[in-house]
């Protein structure tokens, strides 16, 4: 495990190969969701900004659990509908590879990676982020697969409770935000 982690840290700026400027620029990550193919939320983590942390401390903490569940359900519904919409609106005759999708609003950018097994990884970043396809693929292949899929303790379909996974994901995302 130790050598794994040092590999991850040093491979932070590995976005070099396809090196467009935006991949090396710092990206603010707001939150991450991981859903399995049935819509169960396997993992969620957020990094609220300073303002939001103050607001949350002032608000009630009791409603958070059910609110979180509503949010994840809404998020999965959104993922399903937006994938259907994107597939149907495809204008040219060719069926293109539909694994990565992103949308931008006035305040944030949403990235979705659809893995061939049906797993969906969602990343919400600030709106100036470029394509995060490479980063999402790294999260899947270098963090999710080694720490969750290959972990005999982690059952498929159950929410991820591995601390190793959470820590290495955190570390990887911090390297994206660092400058």
């Amino acid at each position: 495990p130790m050598s794994h982690q040092s590999n991850l840290v040093s491979s932070g700026p590995m976005s070099a190969p396809t090196g467009t400027g935006s991949q090396l620029a710092p990206v603010t990550v707001h939150n991450v969701y991981i859903f399995d193919k049935n819509g169960t939320c396997l993992y969620f983590c957020e990094w609220p900004s300073q303002q939001q942390q103050q607001q949350q401390q002032q608000q009630q903490q009791q409603k958070e659990a059910s609110e979180h569940e509503d949010r994840t359900r809404l998020m999965y519904g959104l993922i399903y509908s937006i994938r259907t919409l994107a597939a149907k609106l495809c204008p040219v005759g060719e069926i293109k590879d539909a694994t990565y999708l992103a949308y931008v609003t006035s305040q944030y950018k949403f990235h979705l990676l659809d893995v061939p097994t049906g797993l969906k990884i969602v990343l919400n970043t600030d709106k100036s982020a470029g394509s995060m396809r490479h980063q999402l693929e790294t999260i899947y292949s270098k963090i999710y697969v080694p720490y969750v899929v290959l972990n005999p303790e982690c059952n498929l379909g159950d929410p991820v409770s591995s601390r190793l996974f959470a820590d290495s994901l955190n570390e990887y995302l911090l390297t994206l935000q660092a400058k």
Binding site: H30, N31, E46, P48, S49, Q52, R71, L74, M75, G77, L78, S81, I82, T84, L85, A86, A87, K88, L89, C90, P91, V92, G93, E94, I95, K96, D97, A98, Y100, L101, A102, Y103, V104, T105, S106, Q107, Y108, F110, N124, S131
Partner: protein, 230 residues
């Protein structure tokens, strides 16, 4: 002539589709159709999805997931009901019957029907609201740009809740000008038209269409709309 804009849609504040424009040159999908002959049992797994027969498993030789059945043994599918052939037989029963083999199937992409477009517009209307609600940061608008490998969808929501959608090539620039110009055309030729009602009616005015066409020709010729004559 490769028009820069693939599709334009205008959705009113209730979520109904009131105008749609599709670039006709891209409807020629014959370049992306392919015909293959199979023996029993069929290799690609074909199922009925959204009332059309699609490949869901077993990509091979250019046949990909999402390809729809356009013809079986030379008989095309019916235009309004793609699960039936023109001779009345059901596609799935022909393919399930070993006596039909060897069978030649033509695969391609079926274009969207008008009903499907209306459904998609309604779906987009809800997606717009959800994306605003799910923002990790307070005070976000709904989605303004959807990026995929094949195209980009741009959306302008006006202050009255009308959404203007434009689907373009990913590399197309100056789409914000296009969105604004369509809004101007909508205001001039639809809203100011005394025969236009807001009750979800389709926009069917000659001058509106002409203005849209002239804008598209200008965009195609110059790449931007900066010197467009009013």
């Amino acid at each position: 002539l490769d028009m820069p804009v693939y599709n334009i849609m205008i959705i009113n504040n209730a979520g109904a589709l009131v105008y749609t424009y599709t670039d006709q040159s891209r409807l020629l999908t014959s370049a992306n159709e392919l015909e293959k002959t199979y023996s029993y049992p069929l290799e690609p797994v074909i199922e009925v999805q959204d009332s059309r027969c699609c490949v869901v498993f077993g990509e091979a030789d250019g046949v990909r997931i999402g390809h729809c059945v356009l013809a079986v043994n030379g008989t095309n599918v019916q235009a309004g009901r793609p699960t039936l052939l023109e001779n009345g037989q059901e596609v799935m029963s022909v393919l399930a019957n070993p006596a039909s083999y060897p069978v030649s199937i033509k695969f391609g992409k079926l274009k969207l029907t008008a009903n499907e477009r209306i459904n998609l517009a309604g779906m987009f209307h809800s997606i717009y609201a959800i994306t605003a609600k799910l923002s990790p940061v307070a005070g976000s608008s709904g989605l303004q740009l959807l990026e995929t490998d094949a195209y980009r969808l741009h959306c302008l929501q006006t202050v009255t809740g009308v959404k203007i959608l434009v689907i373009t090539d990913p590399k197309q620039a100056n789409v914000n000008q296009v969105l604004k110009r369509i809004y101007e055309i909508y205001a001039d030729y639809a809203l100011k038209n005394p025969f236009f009602t807001m009750q979800g009616m389709n926009i069917n005015f000659t001058l509106f269409e002409e203005a849209v066409q002239s804008m598209l020709r200008h965009l195609d010729k110059f790449g931007n709309l900066t010197n467009l004559a009013p």
